[in-house]
Symmetry: C2
């Protein structure tokens, strides 16, 4: 007798859950592609209310802000130009064969397309090379967020034994022997003196000038209403509402610029990577 | 008066041409996606007649033949294994930092995704790195077909000043100093002697073992009739008939394995590349 009750209760619960789900789905479904296109063609402030969880910091999607690097300012431009030359110069590496651009290639969206990057003596890295597009935006650098500025970040791969493997103490002297650099350091910093601080300041400033190309979504936001297909508009709505992607992937760069524990740590398995935890040692 | 006649004649010609085109288009159009899917689900011998120009050498599309490298044969397998180690070893380059795999990376379909490859001292090449998938099939190697075998081909990038920049005379001695290679040369060739001939024979044999992964089209040919979408089946029919792609892109590898003068030489312009002409000096 008990068994029958339990079975009936289970079936009933299932039916109730299913009916709720079904109702929910139909609610969303009612929005036709025509009505969706109409509402998403309006300014972002008039878009449908996003589905945001309690506590999530929300900013609406929107047009990309420009890079803060003012290339019309000659003194900034000189620093960027020096940084660009350094970025593509393999002599910043111990072997004189690997440059920043080896793993951050402009024609591969300033990354390298590899599963993990291959560095000095073909040693591999444990994480892949991040793109540098719009990198000026990020508050913390490296996948584990261990650097607080691009200046701080840039030194690590140059020195790392499995990346560029350059003796940092020897670097200024080494570049000092290359006569061609002198006018560029003078233009950027007022004197031909080469220091690691100047090297990484110019590398960081150059990287802040790297921005992404316009995407169909950028054109859509700029009132080109044909830039997105029907399927893409349905996806945009799903992204902002039912699928709840927008909770973290929001704002003009589709990120809240924060770190979240999403559980994908491979804890105690082959590819374990505890990320930010290894930096802060805070379980959060 | 003359002008009127000429104008009328032009309009008439236009109308006639247009009506022919229109008829032609409707002929193709009659094939519904259902009838196309039905006929393309049959064995390739029963597919619709392809549109092949006079003189074109035609072979029907079909399942990929296997690599001729027999990995079940131990003596072949030993050569492949040595070739694989050499392929990924940067010590085959003058700087000890660049290997074949630097530009032919397995996770980028055995190419590098770059517009042109970057070699020794960051010198650039004039053409991009071709994929090595199914490379055993090709009769002539390099984009300009200047090598007749993989053995002949493999030496060039190792020696080229803008690729691996290795002194070829010094290479066997250099590898001879690496004790770890001896058992592999012995297993592959019966003695530990290292010669350039053995190096490039094993590199070539390894490369002949590199094959592409199965694509939806491969699965479609193997009777998985859901592997292609409606749009893809329409494209397949267009490819084989009206668009005449099949004239050159035919057979199991979508190529007739020949060179054709398609006029894209950039003659006397910045990116001029006369390809095979520079090799044969035959205007054809």
């Amino acid at each position: 007798m008990n068994k029958v009750f339990v079975t009936l209760a289970l079936i009933l619960t299932g039916l109730i859950l299913f009916s709720f789900q079904s109702t929910n789905f139909n609610d969303d479904d009612e929005l036709s592609i025509d009505s969706l296109r109409k509402v998403y063609s309006k300014p972002t402030e008039q878009w449908p209310k996003p589905t945001v969880d309690k506590g999530a910091v929300f900013q609406e999607l929107g047009e990309l802000p420009p890079s803060p690097v003012d290339l019309k300012n000659d003194s900034v431009k000189n620093v960027v130009e020096l940084g660009k030359i350094l970025f593509f110069d393999p002599r910043l590496s111990g072997s004189n064969q690997i440059s920043c651009s080896s793993c951050h290639a402009p024609d591969l969206h300033w990354s390298d397309g590899r599963q993990v990057s291959v560095g000095h003596d073909h040693l591999t890295n444990i994480r892949n090379a991040p793109s540098l597009e719009n990198v000026w935006f990020y508050k913390r650098l490296f996948w584990d967020g261990r650097a607080a500025s691009l200046e701080e970040q840039a030194e690590s791969p140059v020195a790392a034994h499995n990346e560029m493997h350059q003796d940092m103490k020897a670097l200024p002297k080494k570049l000092n022997k290359i006569k061609g650099y002198q006018p560029f350091f003078t233009a950027a910093f007022g004197s031909k003196t080469i220091t690691n601080k100047r090297i990484f300041e110019s590398l960081a400033t150059f990287q802040r000038s790297i921005v992404s190309r316009r995407t169909p979504f950028d054109r859509f936001l700029a009132r080109d209403k044909k830039a997105l297909t029907d399927q893409q508009i349905v996806g945009l709505h799903l992204f902002r509402t039912k699928a709840r992607c927008i909770n973290c992937h929001n704002g003009p760069l589709f990120t809240d610029n924060e770190f979240h524990n999403d559980g994908l740590t491979y804890f105690k398995r082959k590819y374990e990577d505890l990320g930010l935890y290894n930096v802060t040692k805070k379980p959060e």
